[in-house]
Symmetry: C2
Subunit: 544 residues, 2 copies
C-alpha cells in the first residue's frame, strides 16, 4: 500500500451503514431467479480455477447454443419470431446466474422487469410480424453505475446505498428504445477507479478463466460475465482502461469509443465536471460484429437529441481492405509487456503478414509524459469528490483506491490543470501527425502489461490510459491464444527501464496466469470509430 | 473603474518597452501602400462622425464596385480570369488603407507577400484556366492574434512584441491553401478580453458609422474594417461575443461557429488550456453568402487532419424552408435592450410574419445563472495567465481589462471549476430540451444590449456570452435599419430589474448612437451551424 494517509475512514460511522450493505446484499441475492440457481454442492469447489467450461455441465445444448450465438443473429431470429425473447432471456439469465455464483459479477438481476418486457416484445412480433428495433429482445448487462430507473445506483460507494436514481441513464433509455432488455447490473470497484472489481458492498469479482486472477476493472463485472458468456453484450465505461482492460482479461471484445459519441448522462460517479480526460461509455461483447451492431444502432438513434454534450456525428459505413497499414507497438517504452503479450503480438503480426497486410514497427512516443499528464488529471481536485463520498460512510479505503489516489501530483491549481490541458492537446496533435507521417492506419498494442493480474494487484494503467488522454478510440480483441506456462517463460531480464518496469516485470510468474486469454488492443485516430471497427474486422479475420 | 488593485503595472519597466512599441507602430505605418494613402488634408476631420460614405469620394466606380461585391462572385471572376487577383487586391488594399486612416483598425498590412501571391494566382489561372481553390485570390483580413508566419503576434500584450511566430496559424494555412490572400492584420484589445478594441500598441479602433462609438471587440479591427467595406471577409475569434458583437456594431455578418469546427491552433492568447468555455474562430463578412462560402470551403478542407482537437464533422448541405419556427427572445431577463434593438426585433418579426414564417415568443431561461457561470470560467485561474503577461511589460491596465478581470469569483479551485462545468452541461441539455419542447428551430435575439457602445464603455457581454457557455452557434446579421434619435426615444423606465440593468439602460442617449446599424443575432442548436446559416438565409431574404 502506497504511503497514503486515510483521512476518511471512520469505523464507527461505517458500522452504521452495515444495515444498508446487508440490504443491498439481500436485494442481490433475492434478485436471482431461483430456478436457475445451481445448488452449492453441484458447483465446482474453490480449488477449481478455470470455471469457463462449467456451463456445459448444467445447461442444455439449446441454452448453450443461444448464449454463444452473436447478438446480430439472435436479434434477427427474435424479430422474425423464430426464437422468442423469453427463451433467449431464460438462457442468458441462467448462464448469468451461474456466472454470478462462480464469479460474484452481478450487483442485481432485473428479472421481473426483463421478463415483462420480453413478453411484450414477443407479443409485438406476433402482432406486427416485425421487430421493435435493431436490438429487439436482446438481453443486455449494464455496469452498475449506469443508472437504472427507480433503483439504487451506488457507483461502488457505500454512501450511495440510498441513492435511488429516478430515471434511466440516457444510454439505457436509448438501448431500451432500440429493443434491448437490461437484465442484470454488474460489479465495479470502490470509487470506480481500479483495474479490478472489489468494493465493500458486493465484494470481489473473479475471473472465470482463472479464479485467482482479477477480471480487471472498473467494468470487471461486465468482463467476467461476458467472458463467461453469461451476457452477449453489455455496457461499460472507460476513463483509463475500464472497458478495454476487462475485455482483455476476460477474452472478449470491448470498444472505448471516442468520448462524446455515447452518452454518459446519468452515470453516477464522484467527480462530475472533470473533463480534462473524459470518461467514455461503450460496449463489451462476445463477438466483434456485435460491437458494430451496438454502435450503428445506438448512434443511428441520434443520441445527441437526448444529450447535448454529444457530437452530432452520424455512424458512417466504412470499408477497409487489406491495404491497411498496421503499426505494432511492442511496448510503450515505460513498462515492458509480459512474455505472453509479446507472443500475442508476434502471432498477430505473423498472421497479418501471411494475409498480405502491411505491418510496420510503431516506435512509442513519450508515453512516460502521457502517463504523467493523465495520472495528474484524474484527481486534479486532490480527490476531493471521492473523499467526500468515502468520508460520508467512513468505509475503509481499499488499497487499490489508495493507490489510484496517489497517482499524479495531488490537488492542482486551475492554472496547472490548464497547462496540462494544453500539453494534452499538443500530444493529440503530435500523435495524429505521427500516424499520418508514418503512414500508419491503426496501432496494434497491448491493453495491459500482462494477460491479467492477480486479484488486487493491478497498478500500471498506461497501455490503456495513454489513449484516454489522446482520446483515440481503442478496440480490444482476443487473439484466440491463451497463456501457457510452458511456452510463456519468464523473460530473463537483468536490467529494467525504471522501478515500475521492474515491479511489473516481477509480477509475471508463469504458473499464476495459466489459461488466461491473450488479448490485444487496436487504436485508430480520434473520431475514427467506424474505421477502427472495420480494421478490427480485417485483422480478426486474418486470425481465423 | 471597478475596485481592481493593479498589481502588475510598473511604469518604469513599461518605459523600457517604449522602443518596441514605437517599432511596432513604425512597422504598421511603413506597411501601408503609399499610393493608397489619402493625404491628411483630404480626410474628413475628427468632427465628422459617419465616415462610411467617404470612400466614394476617393475611389473609382470600379474600385467601389469590387469592394462591395460578394466574395463568391469575386472568386468566380478571378478564377475565370475575368478579374485579376491583382485588381481585386488593389481595390481592397486601397479601401482598407482608408479605413485604417479613419478608424485605426489595422495592426499591419501584408502588401508585399499579398501582391506576390496575387501575381502567382493570376499566372495560375492564365496557365491552367482554372482557380487554385474555392477562395482563389480572395483578399482576407485576419485578426492580429491569429499567427502569421515569421511575424510578431502580440495578442494585444506589450510583452509579446518580440513574439515572432514561426508558423501560420492552422486556419491561416488552410485559407491560403484554398486560395485566399491574407492582406491585413486587424486590431484587438489589450488581453483580448474587451468588447472594444484598444491597447497600448496600436491604440483605439473606431466605428466607421459613428466615430464616437466603439467598433466593439475583441475582433473590433475586423468589424470596423469589414463594416467600412475595406475587406469582404475576415477571420475573428469569439469567447464571449468577440466576433458577433463587432459584426453587430459595424453592421456586417459574423458567425461564431460551434467550438471545434474551425481551428484555433496557432492563435496566441493568455490562458491556453482553459476549456470550460472554448474560444471559437470564424468569419465576419459583408455578405451572408460568404459566411457559407467560408465554412463550406474551410470544413471541406478537412481541417481536423491538421488539428486533432477539431471534430470530424463534414459540412452538410441543409435546405430550410419557411416552415421554420423562430423564437424571439426580446430580452434575457437580466438587462433590457435599448429601444433601437427592440425596434429591430419588431421589424424582423413583422417581416417574418408577412412572409409566412412562424414566430413565437422565447421566454428567457435563467440567463442570470448563465452569466454567473460563464463569467467565473473566463478567469478561473484568477487571471494568473493574463497578469503574468501584463506584468512582464508593466503596461498600464486598461479600465476595460480591469473590468473583465473583475468578472466572476476570482481564482477557483479545480473542484469549483468542475462544479461549474457540470452546471454548464446541465444548462446545455436544458436549452436543447427547451428548443425541442417549444418547437423552436432558431432563436432570434439581440447581440448586445444596444446598437453599440460609446468608446471604452462596453460592459455587459450577456447577449453573446450566454451562447458561448451553451456552445450554440450564433449568426449576427444587419437588419438594414439604423438608429434614429427621433424614432428611438429613451424608454421611460422608472423601475429596473437590477443594478446592471439600470446602468446599461442609462447608457442609452439617443443622439449619441445616431446612425449606428441595428443588427441582431440568430442562434441554433449546438453543432447545427449549417442549419443556422440556412435559416439565416431565409430570414434575411424576408427582410429584403
Amino acid at each position: 500500500m502506497p504511503p497514503y494517509i486515510d483521512k476518511t475512514t471512520d469505523p464507527v460511522k461505517f458500522e452504521t451503514w452495515r444495515p444498508q450493505i446487508e440490504l443491498a446484499q439481500k436485494r442481490l441475492k433475492d434478485s436471482l431467479v431461483a430456478d436457475f440457481v445451481v445448488p452449492q454442492s453441484d458447483l465446482p469447489g474453490d480449488s477449481v480455477l478455470d470455471v469457463s467450461t462449467f456451463p456445459a455441465k448444467v445447461m442444455s445444448p439449446a441454452e448453450l447454443k443461444i448464449t454463444e450465438t452473436d447478438a446480430s443473429t439472435l436479434v434477427l431470429e427474435m424479430g422474425s419470431g423464430k426464437l422468442s425473447a423469453k427463451t433467449v432471456l431464460d438462457a442468458f439469465m441462467k448462464r448469468a446466474t451461474i456466472a454470478h455464483q462462480l464469479l460474484n459479477c452481478a450487483t442485481e438481476f432485473l428479472a421481473d422487469e426483463a421478463y415483462e418486457r420480453a413478453k411484450l416484445l414477443d407479443e409485438y412480433v406476433q402482432t406486427y410480424g416485425k421487430p421493435i428495433g435493431p436490438l429487439h429482445g436482446l438481453p443486455m448487462s449494464i455496469k452498475e453505475h449506469v443508472s437504472i430507473k427507480n433503483r439504487v445506483t451506488n457507483a461502488g460507494f457505500v454512501a450511495l446505498l440510498n441513492n435511488v436514481t429516478p430515471e434511466d441513464a440516457t444510454t439505457v433509455s436509448i438501448l431500451r428504445s432500440l429493443g434491448a432488455i437490461p437484465f442484470v447490473r454488474t460489479n465495479e470497484p470502490q470509487s470506480l477507479m481500479h483495474q479490478d472489481s472489489c468494493n465493500y458492498i458486493t465484494g470481489v469479482t473473479l475471473n472465470g478463466f482463472n479464479r485467482k486472477l482479477s477480471p480487471s476493472g472498473s467494468s470487471g463485472g461486465e468482463g467476467a460475465l461476458i467472458g463467461f458468456k453469461g451476457s452477449v453484450m453489455g455496457v461499460g465505461t472507460d476513463i483509463g482502461g475500464s472497458i478495454r482492460s476487462p475485455a482483455a482479461f476476460n477474452g472478449c471484445y470491448g470498444l472505448r469509443p471516442t468520448a462524446g459519441r455515447v452518452s454518459s448522462r446519468g452515470c453516477i460517479s464522484a467527480g462530475g465536471g472533470q473533463e480534462s480526460v473524459k470518461s467514455s461509455i461503450g460496449p463489451l461483447a462476445q463477438h466483434l460484429s456485435d460491437i458494430e451492431l451496438f454502435m450503428s444502432s445506438y448512434v443511428g438513434a441520434k443520441p445527441w437529441l437526448q444529450d447535448a454534450t454529444l457530437y452530432r456525428i452520424p455512424w458512417k459505413k466504412v470499408d477497409v481492405d487489406k491495404q491497411l497499414t498496421v503499426g505494432i507497438m511492442r511496448s510503450d517504452g515505460v513498462v515492458k509487456p509480459h512474455p505472453p503479450i509479446l507472443r500475442g503480438l508476434e502471432f498477430v503480426e505473423k498472421k497479418l503478414i501471411e494475409a498480405g497486410v502491411k505491418v510496420v514497427e510503431w516506435e512509442p512516443y513519450k508515453c512516460d509524459e502521457l502517463w504523467e499528464i493523465v495520472s495528474s488529471m484524474y484527481f486534479a481536485d486532490g480527490c476531493a469528490a471521492q473523499n467526500k463520498l468515502l468520508g460520508a460512510s467512513g468505509e475503509p479505503i481499499h488499497p487499490l483506491t489508495a493507490m489510484a489516489f496517489s497517482f499524479g501530483k495531488g490537488e492542482l491549481t486551475v492554472s496547472e490543470n490548464q497547462e496540462l490541458n494544453y500539453r494534452r492537446d499538443e500530444f493529440r496533435n503530435k500523435y495524429q501527425q505521427l500516424m499520418i507521417e508514418r503512414g500508419v492506419d491503426v496501432i496494434l498494442c497491448p491493453a495491459y502489461v500482462g494477460v491479467a493480474a492477480e486479484l488486487g494487484t493491478t497498478s500500471y494503467w498506461g497501455y490503456c490510459s495513454h489513449w484516454n488522454l489522446l482520446d483515440q478510440p481503442g478496440l480490444v480483441f482476443p487473439t484466440g491464444l491463451y497463456q501457457d506456462p510452458v511456452v510463456d517463460k519468464v523473460d530473463p531480464r537483468t536490467e529494467y527501464w525504471n522501478l515500475t518496469d521492474e515491479k511489473e516485470s516481477q509480477k509475471y510468474v508463469p504458473n499464476v496466469f495459466k489459461g488466461a486469454p491473450i488479448a490485444l488492443q487496436l487504436v485508430s485516430q480520434r473520431y475514427e470509430d467506424e474505421f477502427l471497427l472495420a480494421a478490427g474486422k480485417i485483422i480478426t479475420e486474418c486470425l481465423r
